[in-house]
Subunit: 406 residues, 3 copies
């Protein structure tokens, strides 16, 4: 390939990498915004841990685990030392298929890896022990995410059976979502979330402006998440992808806002925000395959799913403070199925393949996260004690550090 | 045109699109930061509505309304269905003149469209009914903005008479500013803004850090707003544009800070912030036509205009909580005139053309926004009742959702 | 050079410029987040002053002072008028060596210039007179920074003796750090920082979420700070630089978090955050010279330095509210030395050169900042009076403007 176009592709991929990195601020803001003030420092600590340890683990082993063929192929990526060896001669500077460097490839994929655990972080907020969460993160980001990723993006069996997941409705969002589901199931609800009759109570978020900022930052990050998943700067594919991404986000938000108004006679900002996220997760599996009209329909349905999903999770007596299961798991499933229903790949055969992959990934993630969480539960314990939970984790886990002191 | 340069242009335009999108976080932060806490959720809801419905309306019709010639030209953009039809064959992937895809063109312009209503949102904060604002937004973004845009950027009569407005001092900022002016005139001031003698009182902003962040985010977004208005990645034009944009912002801020210190013996951060924004709006019409020295002078004058303009609006007994009329309308007029005074196009003939266009756009926007607001006022009403206003719109319009709960 | 690759380089450099600009929001958030609420408006005012006056001063003279050879070479950059003359003919549009326009070069470097004073701003927060800080900024950004920069990046004697400082561990971060050190030495500690026995007390930060956001924004900005210092879009160098930058940040954060846990049995978020910044500063001098493994080791050591450095500064009875001296000066020195220890340039000769340059720059900055601060101290005074400090600078310096009103 000609040098200049390689340079352009690489520039685009680096920018997308930066945008996906920035999503970690979006997740942080969303999580602290939608939860109680007394757990703010704790949640931020978890977010810092996820992005930093996530990158390190991906360098040490995750990247090679996920893209196994590349070890021999180029000779530079070895599951030894820190995974990516030193730049000796020109070897470290080979180009990946899409026409950008291995370094860029590693960093872009590394930013994705950390996302999976971040999704779990929000769901388990306010009652999980910090050490327990950190242990879970190490195994989930270091092993589970790259193994599942290898099945499709690493050219594994899901790829060979024709499964399509453009930017990770299943491989990223559902993987995180399943972990979140098992986590909140094993942890139980926060004290006070359900009244004596089992009816859910609203535990208000402590900083709605930051939560809203988080959603807009995540939307911005999705320019890179989906746009970068083209793996080149191909003008038509990247720009179509951004159009479908933004229209699905817009449609998801409007649908959630209106549908929740119809249901509850209230202009609910949290629903609006989660609707935007639902639209984004929903379009992710097929963002390069859809027309703008398809994207709007996928987003509208995702928006309605958000409203119903949040009520459904409540019905199950599960406590998901930020709506992570609904946004990332249910809309992730919806988006993965949508590839078989809309766009250029639509067809019953494809739909069945998509369904199969959802089930396989789902079973694997349920199993893995159950084992990890369960072993932690019976060894060091999963949940802080009642007193600590009531006073807030910032006190018990962080020596009383206040999020908003005078 | 050669493929690689098309790819580069498209990458640049996509990045600028992302930056303009991000301005919606800037506007959100600025508005909630400079207004009272009790209306925070309401303002955020409005901002989410503007960006989401704005994009959808632009897809459904706005883009075709604004760029009418393109419907036939390329055959893909039809004022039917969702405006941009599905990608059939290669048709959807044609290139716009500047050398980037239609998809990119649509998305970049769509981000601009939503801006106009956002400007109004800040000015009418704290007393407008949510439903009324949403209705206004639909008409203003869906119809008024693209009609005015078509006159110049769509190749209409303002373009043919030689009017120059590089990135929208008039077409975006003044269009928003006129809507804001009519809105605050018809709504009246917030309770408590003027004392019994008609003297203005300061209603302090509730989150100055977020307001300041909003200004810096808007400045960042202006890299895309102006830089992308080159409509290609042409190195000299884009980089000159960024230099003039940043120098005008810097000069505007410093001028406002110093001039307000001279006037009021106070280092006023809000003036500093609005001075930066004034400089940005002021340079927007001619950012690609000015030398750095011109840019600094334009910014300095914009900064002084900000201080005088805010006092003038107060004098008129108009209540503009965020200074939107001064920043976007008055500095928008200033910037549009500056094209005839400074830079490569300076000249009395050009100045007269600029003035004419300001008047024409002004009359049209005043008329349209008056009609829209007036019809809303006499039908469903424009303003919340006194009790709701005092308690705050977060209670009356959003079921008591708190912005900053414990 | 071929036009297309020039365009690509220029696009990359403009994006990096935007990212470095955005670091000013990161610094603002970090500073207000880690200091007391009563000084918030004051700190934001200082940050706005630094970025605006910094750009203007760099246009008026700094750029030409720092890159003296360029004045004649191209004929467009003259130390007269506003430094960068108007675009006459094609002259203003020449290309700098790296293949991007002079405009881009000016703006990228201008964003760096403002950084030096911002580093000082955090350290002296809460007790410095606003006017005094503004005066210091004018001299430090307008003269000291470009003079030191000229020694290396302008091709001066440090460059000729073989000193290597890729993106400014010394030229930016240490320059700021020395100013911070002298500032806090001459100012003295905030009231209440040390008890009667001289033991340090924790003065808690007022907005940890914004501080955390500041760190993530700074990390994002470092994509541009280091990535842009390649001065072209060269795929291998830029992408390797981003990889080393991110791995050092991650390693720094993890090391600080764990080491401070070992030392103090507390999961300390502030240490985690400063560890990330320490890793970033540490890698900056050699980000294009290191393997990923080197980068991780450099980051780990930086993380440990942070924990020890903060304790050491306390021991010296110096009061540095945001840890600026530890992060920018000590880790800046570490990163500069690391070029002689790790990576492609490692060697005892290089190490000695690095050390020499550190000492020369250090002596010059100590001298300059001492003179500037001292002259201010004996003329208009450096520190606000006790009463103003206790009530907070937002009251005394900004007419009682509240950061977070109702």
């Amino acid at each position: 390939m000609e040098t200049t176009i390689l340079t352009v592709n690489n520039v685009w991929m680096m920018i997308c990498t930066a945008l996906v990195f920035f999503m970690h601020l979006g997740f942080s803001f969303l999580e602290i915004g939608l939860t109680r003030r007394k757990n703010t420092v704790n949640i931020l600590f978890k977010n810092f841990f996820v992005i930093t340890i996530g990158l390190l683990l991906y360098a040490i082993g995750g990247f090679n685990l996920m893209y196994p063929g590349f070890e021999e192929g180029e000779g530079i990526l070895k599951f030894a030392g820190f995974g990516i060896s030193a730049p000796e001669g020109g070897m470290g500077f080979g180009y990946a298929d899409g026409g950008y460097t291995w370094w860029t490839d590693f960093l872009f994929q590394g930013m994705f890896a950390a996302t999976a655990a971040t999704i779990v972080s929000g769901a388990v907020a306010g009652r999980i022990k910090l050490t327990s969460f950190m242990l879970f993160t190490i195994f989930y980001v270091g092993l589970v995410y790259p193994i599942v990723g290898a099945w499709k993006w690493g050219g594994g069996f899901l790829d060979q059976m024709g499964f399509y997941d453009f930017a990770g409705s299943t491989l990223v969002h559902s993987v995180g979502g399943w972990g979140a589901l098992i986590g909140i199931y094993l942890l139980g609800a926060r004290i006070g979330k359900f009244d004596e009759n089992g009816n859910p109570r609203v535990i208000p978020g402590s900083n709605i402006p930051l939560a809203a900022a988080g959603v807009l930052i995540l939307w911005l990050g999705w320019f890179g998440f989906n746009g970068g998943s083209v793996l080149s700067a191909d003008p038509t594919l990247t720009s179509l992808t951004l159009v479908t991404t933004c229209l699905a986000a817009a449609a998801g938000g409007v649908a959630s806002a209106l549908f929740s108004y119809v249901m509850y006679k209230n202009y609910d900002l949290t629903m609006f925000m989660n609707g935007v996220l639902g639209g984004l997760v929903g379009i992710t599996a097929g963002a390069d395959q859809m027309s703008p009209t398809d994207a709007i329909i996928i987003g509208l349905i995702a928006g309605i799913i958000i409203v119903l999903g949040v009520a459904f999770i409540d019905k199950l007596k599960l406590d998901d403070p930020v709506g992570a299961v609904t946004v990332h798991l249910i809309c992730g499933i919806w988006g993965t199925l949508a590839v078989g229903i809309f766009g250029e790949m639509a067809g019953i055969d494809q739909l069945i393949i998509q369904l199969k992959a959802i089930l396989i990934v789902g079973l694997f993630c349920i199993l893995c996260s159950f084992i990890i969480f369960y072993v932690i539960k019976v060894s060091i314990g999963l949940r802080v004690n009642k007193d600590h939970e009531i006073k807030g984790l910032d006190i018990s886990e962080h020596d009383g550090m206040e999020a908003y002191a005078q």
